[in-house]
């Protein structure tokens, strides 16, 4: 415990070495391999060690890639919007209305569905929304509708509902934490200075909650765009997203350089979108509480 600066450093580095080494070996090294592959040539079932930009040229010029990438971005953006907008009032309710002693019970209730089988949850939405699904069969047996509703079926809408459900706790928790951090006297000050309840919310609460909202948006957006299961199950394989395309290139077609270029491009686009989003919200993120 005699902790000079040097022993602080060496002990710290010694401790961090195992997890760091693991992350480097199992994650960073494979990611770099993918990056390297994306600049190599594909020979059928092998990879030719020759530097080229061809893969990127092909990917970026491919209309199917454009379509799928745009759809992925669109679905992810829509899911993010829906999830965050639906989640905000719940987080607000949790933070401002719920009795402090019951807060952890509410949080517990919200997180439970998240920890139950993702696959089965996704599939159940298919069961709920399907042609002969719970909603349609239920409404039909009640005599409300004659023909099954089709607008909720096998399309982007059903994917959005499913994903919004899957990522709900991811959106609620960061917003809740940001709201919890707000000093309650600030709101009283807002009211004291003559603002109405709604204007106080608009001018004080919302700006202070923005870091949480931004975090929530990113936490929902990034995994959604890479989601594989929902398009495969809900979309019935007919509306693939970028993850399905990468999988097809890599494994079904066994074109690793092309698949790698696809993966790298997708990661780049996600990273750029996220950075733009963060930059747009810089004004709010500078708030230190």
């Amino acid at each position: 415990m005699a902790s000079g600066n040097r022993s602080q450093k060496t002990q710290g580095l010694g401790l961090i070495a195992p997890p760091l080494g693991y992350a480097v070996l199992v994650m960073a090294a494979p990611l770099l391999t993918i990056l390297a592959y994306s600049f190599l040539k594909d020979g059928y079932l092998t990879v030719i060690r020759e530097f080229t930009f061809d893969n990127y040229r092909t990917v970026w010029g491919d209309p199917i890639f454009h379509k799928i990438m745009l759809r992925s971005l669109g679905v992810a953006a829509l899911v993010t919007l829906v999830t965050v907008v639906l989640a905000f009032p719940v987080a607000y309710f949790l933070s401002f209305v719920v009795d402090p002693r019951k807060k952890s019970m509410w949080l517990f209730l919200i997180t439970i569905p998240f920890w139950t089988s993702y696959l089965i949850r996704v599939f159940l939405w298919k069961v709920i929304l399907g042609y002969n699904g719970v909603i349609n069969s239920g409404l039909k047996s009640l005599g409300i509708i004659e023909q099954p509703l089709t607008f909720i079926l096998y399309n982007v809408n059903s994917m959005v509902i499913t994903l919004a459900h899957a990522y709900a706790p991811f959106a609620i928790l960061p917003i809740f934490i940001a709201l919890e951090k707000i000093d309650r006297s600030l709101l009283e000050a807002g009211r004291d200075l003559g603002e109405s309840r709604i204007m106080t919310f608009w001018r004080v609460t919302l700006p202070l909650a923005m870091p949480g909202v931004v975090a929530a948006a990113l936490i929902v957006f990034i995994p959604t765009i890479g989601d594989y299961v929902t398009p495969a199950l809900i979309g019935g394989g007919k509306i693939p997203m970028i993850a399905n395309m990468i999988q097809a290139q890599m494994l079904d077609l066994d074109n690793r350089p092309m698949g790698s270029a696809l993966a790298v491009t997708a990661m780049l686009i996600v990273a750029i979108m996220s950075l733009i989003f963060v930059a747009l919200n810089r004004r709010f993120l500078r708030v230190k509480q």
Binding site: Q8, K9, G12, P113, I120, F123, P223, G226, V229, L251
Partner: protein, 268 residues
């Protein structure tokens, strides 16, 4: 009652969250083979079918092996990372911790595909070991976060006090730190276990021919005949998850009570 409108909205939202889970047992005990209303009658056949299914048993065994190993490995790595980040200053700390937490935001498809490509090109046989490799990676950030909270709530002078009273560094860790972070270690184990048990994409790509519970379920969802049995399986899984989570929550709260800290609530 305060916030009437908000409360109604929150309850509706909870209903939306629980809708699929509520349906699970309904159809698991429904004697009809088609998942639709109206219900036919009560049966426990699907559960019987489930227990007799050999490939399901194999998938379950695989999943349990994977989940137990991954949660132990991830928690061990998490202990190192959490202790290093809460107790020591060292060069490059920010980027290093960032790299360790990266799997949280990296799409799993990217993690699994890149790992798959490397494993295939160096000629590693795909089996449950390769899945453990991937699951340990994605569980590590969760373990690190949970354990960092546990380590952080410890007063640093507790360790110094033990040292001052004649213990060695290691016995101070064993006698004071370890018992106090034990609740955190248990909830990290449980959480990693739950994540691994439920993880699909990495298992799908890295398991080779070995089934795990999620990949087995995925493969059966194509056959309408199998769906009622999957509903029964899902019901069992949900009940198990809730039990595990309740235990995890219990230990988390006990940990907080032990160190006398304030309950800030919630996972993550």
């Amino acid at each position: 009652m305060k916030g009437g409108g908000l409360r109604i909205y929150a309850i509706l939202y909870l209903l939306f969250l629980y809708a699929p889970i509520i349906l699970l047992p309904i159809f698991a005990f429904n004697s009809g083979t088609i998942i639709a209303f109206p219900l036919k009658g009560f049966t426990t056949d699907w559960f019987g079918q489930m227990f007799e299914n050999a490939s399901l048993r194999r998938a379950l065994t695989n999943s349990l092996i994977i989940a137990v190993s991954s949660s132990v490995f991830a928690t061990c790595l998490g202990v190192f990372a959490a202790r290093a980040s809460t107790r020591f200053e060292f060069p490059g700390k920010g980027p290093i911790m960032g790299l360790i937490m990266l799997p949280l935001v990296l799409p799993e498809i990217i993690v699994s595909i890149s790992l798959l490509v490397v494993l295939l090109s160096i000629g590693v046989q795909l089996n449950i070991l390769t899945v453990i490799l991937g699951h340990t990676l994605i569980c590590m950030p969760y373990a690190t976060v949970i354990l960092s909270t546990a380590f952080n709530s410890l007063d640093r002078s507790l360790e110094e006090a033990a040292y001052d009273l004649g213990e060695t560094k290691w016995s101070a860790f064993r006698l004071v730190i370890l018992p106090l972070v034990m609740p955190g270690i248990i909830s990290s184990l449980l959480m990693s276990f739950t994540i691994s048990l439920d993880e699909f994409i990495i298992a799908f790509f890295l398991a080779g021919n070995e089934p795990t519970l999620p990949t087995y379920i995925f493969s059966q969802l194509r056959f309408p005949k199998q769906i009622p049995m999957i509903m029964a399986l899902g019901t069992v899984l949900v009940v198990m998850s809730i039990i595990l989570l309740t235990i995890a929550e219990y230990f988390r709260r006990r940990g907080i009570a032990k160190t006398g800290a304030k309950d800030t609530g919630g996972f993550l």
